[in-house]
Symmetry: C2
Subunit: 457 residues, 2 copies
Amino acid sequence: MPSAAIDYARQNSSRFLDELKTLLRIPSISTLPEHNADVFGAATWLAEELKRIGMENVEVIKTAGHPLVYADWLHAAGKPTCLCYGHYDVQPPDPLGEWKSPPFEPVERDGNLYARGAVDDKGQMYMHLKALESLFQANGGKLPINVRVILEGEEEVGGEQIAKFVREKGDRLKANFALVSDTELFAPELPTLCVGLRGLVYTEIEARGAMTDLHSGIYGGAAPNPFIALAEIIAQLKDSSGRILIPGFYDAVKAPSEAELKAWRSLPFDEEHYRQTEVGSSRLTGEPGFSVLERTWARPTLDVHGMPGGFTGAGAKTVIPAKAVAKVSMRLVPDMDPTKIFEQYKHYVESLAPAGVSVEVRLIHSGEAIVIGTDNPYIQAATRALKQVWGKDTVFIRSGGSIPIVGDFERHLKVPSVMMGFGLPDDNLHAPNEKFHLANFYRGIDSIITFFEELGK
Amino acid sequence: MPSAAIDYARQNSSRFLDELKTLLRIPSISTLPEHNADVFGAATWLAEELKRIGMENVEVIKTAGHPLVYADWLHAAGKPTCLCYGHYDVQPPDPLGEWKSPPFEPVERDGNLYARGAVDDKGQMYMHLKALESLFQANGGKLPINVRVILEGEEEVGGEQIAKFVREKGDRLKANFALVSDTELFAPELPTLCVGLRGLVYTEIEARGAMTDLHSGIYGGAAPNPFIALAEIIAQLKDSSGRILIPGFYDAVKAPSEAELKAWRSLPFDEEHYRQTEVGSSRLTGEPGFSVLERTWARPTLDVHGMPGGFTGAGAKTVIPAKAVAKVSMRLVPDMDPTKIFEQYKHYVESLAPAGVSVEVRLIHSGEAIVIGTDNPYIQAATRALKQVWGKDTVFIRSGGSIPIVGDFERHLKVPSVMMGFGLPDDNLHAPNEKFHLANFYRGIDSIITFFEELGK
């Protein structure tokens, strides 16, 4: 028998969706300075919404970067306090040409909502707000537990400001646990809690040869080519099997427990199906001797994201560019130290610079990997709530992605995170045609309502 | 004692320069479709100018690409016929931020004219027109020799249309020799004829991994990365000494004669000075055992010009792109066959594709290398004219660049080319801050006048 709060959520589902669309129309791309005003606009919009639903002490907190949005409701004496976290910034939408509908004009198709940020993370963050609204409305303006909300606007560019806030003003975020909805269901209809995240070291390698761009006819054979230098460097970062060649890179890697590995093997996962339906390449890559789940959850990796410089237009330009850049990141697992890994990487890359080319290795941002124990009471309450709403036992997974704030919450606030996400593996996050399955949006709201009611018992 | 035509050129030099500036303000970038109208505008502007100075049968010849401009004056019975060639299209100006003044707003600084196309090739092509105008004006509307003019608008993108015209309508271009001013002086004040050009094979390698862009956190360790694949391929195209590893690549290479090599060794050229002032890298690169002049004039090379794809903006985007492209070209020397080289290259590149990545190798354009004998009467007359104007003996050089039309003239029209160019090694062609030294613009006009007068004797 659904609670009054769940009834309210169901009766208001179409308005909830309209509101989410309004939020998705704001192109709050945190990495592009020309969208700074949009990022700020999304923050103020959310602050207004938090006030409207009944949250108190609502504040748009200015920072040296994009603002934070804070709110609380702390009148459930004797009950636990949840810190609801989410981010309202999004990834750039490029390549624009591959979107079937414009990224900032949300459209429903086949039971999905398509827009940049639909699932990562505006849609999932908005589930928290709508769960809170429903609980307020169904309980005479009260919540079953204490709640603080903290939203950030630069998760996609490293989350520097919230990390600083957590470090320096942690007392404003005191809680018993954090709720983070920025992950996915392992499979449709399968309630899932994420209990592990990889860390990240995101870098740029800039190679410089000649002092100016040169004509490749006149100077080819004498002037160093920074793209060829980068190619030589990148080709030496991994061997042909996918093993990373940075000296010392694997030294601190902590393997998952036997129990975890056993549970992963029992998950409904078929590597061939995954290859065909999610990746679509002729073969999967990665270190031999590890399953796909191990490779993407529990092994470190290295990828190249783009190589700006030179001539990238259509047709031909015969230039030897003076400089070229490679954007390279590494995903880390427990217990790799991002600072140490960056130093090892930098030292190795510098040692690979060919004659005539100088390289500069820059750290863009980084964060540690994290693993959360499944025995804490908040994870336990979450599994009970998910069982009620979804009728199934929760599976515990890790994610290959990085949510550095989860590490900051653990380190500085000493609170564990409940990563209760409702995305799907094919939701195209960070890619064209990002979507959120609408049934999951609604069932996610139900799940959070039930979780908070469970904790308020 | 200067001729009347040279007197006329000197009296009108400031107007000549103003006219050139007008031409340089037209952004006739042949590789960018959005500038098609500008390319056409430059063609019609030149046709009007050819009519004005006294040329006959002026025509803007429409083609499947950018237009050709034709004109002639054929009333010097018994005298030779010169085919004046030039191109009115230019390279893209990017990177725009590195120009000290806007590329299409010509500005004089320190005796130089700065603009995209100043030297390559609008400024040099315009010397022909101004030499012809001066000869008409000083000789009662007559020229000392017969002249045909053919100008093209797609030299920077491969010159397909003029090549087709030469092949199919060669009778309209009948001449004894061609005059091409698209090369440079070996050193300031040193009259120079270019008698060798490298060929070119310009390609794109497209690597495809996953079927869509993927999040590098979620898929890193399983999805193939097309940039890493391209890096691995490119790193195997050359060894660390700069030798190209494509099987069979060097098989047909014809070395320069001992006499040529001896003449090159006597040229005023200091590799260390060249490294410091022209290239500016910490070391020069290229095959060991060959001098810089041999490496850039008489040895084939391979360069990468840009690697479009993925994320190239500022900041961080954690994407594994579905595809990435490398723009790769090779410079060829006599007697390498572009078609055969492309096939060898394509086959080799395809063989290097790593597991999970498919590659497509596309030919963008190509042209053969060429060497012209110094004993023909037009080269001989040119050296006499240059001696008169510059007071020095001409040096014969090659260029590492490619002017495919010179090969077409030789093959299809059976005419040798006199490559009499007046650029300087530091004129930044194809690069930001392209310039033309104004003294060379004026002295180039004098040289062409004198050359034609010499042939009309």
